[in-house]
């Protein structure tokens, strides 16, 4: 899922300086799981903005399971709020950066509406776990190497993204960069050992192909590569 945190209200109020009529748009996908843009958070932000004198012309809580980043379902929902969106001076989006941009494009392409669109969350990356705490597991490198690492991603979970073995800085199993983190490489080593595949750790070094990570990326459904 796309991990995310709430932006401080102060920052959102700064965005909205001089803009009185506001639409808040949530997300029933990841944002509802991370408690950043579900129906409850949309309601809470609406209350907070009202208290600061804003007129919230619509506070759109999206039902669980409906993703704001998915353009077809977003468009169906947007159609019901055309007047409010026309009337507002700004939209605050409680969804990841991806959801926000899909919303902005759909607004412009669907309604020909140009409205300032502001993020109400900080997007933190692909995370797994839950229900209360999550860890980043994958940084979407475009060429998955998990088969080499017993299913633990060192690109993401080792702060240095080392591909060829531990750095030697781990102390009591904890990472030298952040003593609160387990050293990803010790986990990889232990799992490879259990799987009887330690010989992989003495092979010719692996190089990451960053061409596979060239941005921006685009793809078609079912595409190979």
């Amino acid at each position: 899922m796309i991990g995310q945190t709430k932006k401080p209200l102060r920052e959102i109020l700064e965005f909205l300086e001089g803009k009185e009529r506001v639409v808040i748009w949530g997300c029933g996908g990841c944002a509802s799981v991370f408690g950043t843009g579900g129906r409850r958070e949309v309601r809470q932000l609406a209350e907070a903005l009202s208290q600061h004198g804003k007129e919230v012309v619509a506070a759109v809580g999206v039902p669980p399971g409906e993703f704001t980043c998915h353009a077809p379902s977003l468009w169906e929902r947007l159609k019901g709020y055309k007047e409010e969106l026309k009337a507002c001076q700004a939209v605050v989006v409680l969804a990841c950066g991806d959801g926000l941009q899909v919303l902005q494009e759909t607004l412009e392409e669907g309604f020909g509406l140009s409205r300032p669109v502001y993020p109400g969350v900080n997007t933190q990356g692909l995370m797994g776990g839950g229900p209360v705490s999550f860890q980043e597991k994958c940084r979407q490198c475009g060429e998955c190497l998990l088969g080499e690492f017993a299913g633990i991603c060192p690109l993401t979970r080792c702060p240095k993204g080392l591909l060829n073995g531990p750095c030697g800085g781990a102390k009591d199993g904890k990472c030298e960069v952040d003593r609160g983190l387990d050293c990803a490489w010790l986990s990889i080593y232990q799992r490879l050992k259990v799987l009887g595949k330690l010989e992989g750790l003495t092979r010719a070094p692996l190089f990451k192909d960053y061409a596979k990570e060239k941005r921006p990326r685009s793809l078609k459904v079912g595409q190979e590569g």
């Binding site: 030697g168 800085g169 030298e176 050992k193 330690l198 010719a204 070094p205």
Partner: protein, 293 residues
């Protein structure tokens, strides 16, 4: 003389680490290096150690080389992608620098510019491999070079890493990638070092054992608590504790270093001193250890 030639000649090699200044005033670094002339075989120049921004290792090595002092160019993957790393390696060779120590480098978050973008396009092992490709006359993309370097390539290893096995696997991987010698994390317990050498019997690469003179018992305790792979035995800490004045501590520190050097000497090909400001203690350590230049 470059380090591989010294190993071939069977010399017990002594290297010392110096740190470039924060700023352009190189005089003190050069004085420190000058004071070691004739006493040590080569001087390692750190590459923005602990991710603290400083004058470059390449330029510093060049200044040493110009003065006839043998440098070991420390090169980390923290700040340069593979294009810059290869370019700096070619530049080093063009400036007459022959020894390179290939390191991954510390994370930027530990230094004085934690907002910097960490690079780590390569790591110590893939950097060694890359440097060896250059030696073979090709860049990493397979393009032929017009003139190629012939480096003596080094790497680091932590003899008291815990667990040790992944460290040894990585050492083996570094040798396969092109490492010709190793410098180690600081050793304080010769017995532990000896155990390590038994574990790596099959691996044939000269090792320079890391020595950091203790400045105080407090420093020893700090390292034990915070630095991976450094284990100062209680007895050594107690010795430092008993030394009261600065002069006593310096003397005791030199004695401890010399004792470690003598104990590990049969099991290694040299030592690598990291005096961290106590460069002036190096002659005394070497003398007490009975190492003649």
């Amino acid at each position: 003389m470059r380090l591989d030639r010294l190993f071939e000649a069977g010399k017990f090699v002594v290297t010392v680490e110096v740190e470039p200044p924060k700023g352009t005033r190189v005089s003190e670094m050069l004085e420190r290096a000058e004071s070691l002339r004739g006493l040590v075989d080569a001087i390692n120049v750190t590459d923005q150690q602990s991710s603290v921004m400083r004058l470059g290792s390449l330029a510093s090595c060049h200044l040493l080389k110009e003065r006839g002092i043998e440098p070991v160019f420390q090169l980390t993957c923290r700040d340069r992608n593979r294009i810059a790393l290869q370019s700096d390696l070619l530049s080093a060779w063009a400036l007459g620098i022959e020894n390179v120590l290939c390191l991954t480098g510390d994370h930027v978050s530990l230094g004085d510019h934690p907002q910097a973008k960490p690079v780590f396009d390569l790591d110590s092992v893939s950097l060694l491999w890359t440097a060896r490709r250059l030696k073979e006359g090709y860049d990493l993309a397979g393009n032929p070079l017009q003139g190629s370097p012939d480096f003596c390539l080094g790497a680091v290893v932590t003899p008291e890493a815990d667990p040790l096995e992944p460290q040894i696997l990585k050492m083996e991987r570094k040798i396969r990638a092109g490492a010709q010698f190793f410098q180690t994390q600081a050793v304080y317990d010769p017995k532990a070092y000896e155990r390590f050498t038994r574990e790596i019997e099959g691996l044939k690469a000269p090792i320079l054992v890391g020595i950091i003179p203790l400045k105080s018992a407090k420093m020893a305790r700090f390292m034990n608590e915070n630095i991976a792979g450094i284990k100062v035995p209680d007895g050594v800490i107690a010795e430092m504790e008993r030394a009261k004045t600065r002069e006593e501590r310096r003397r005791k520190s030199a004695e401890i270093c010399a004792r470690i050097v003598q104990a590990v000497r049969p099991h290694c090909q040299g030592i690598h001193l990291m005096p961290m400001g106590w460069e002036d203690l190096v002659p005394e350590i070497l003398e007490l250890a009975g190492i003649n230049p």
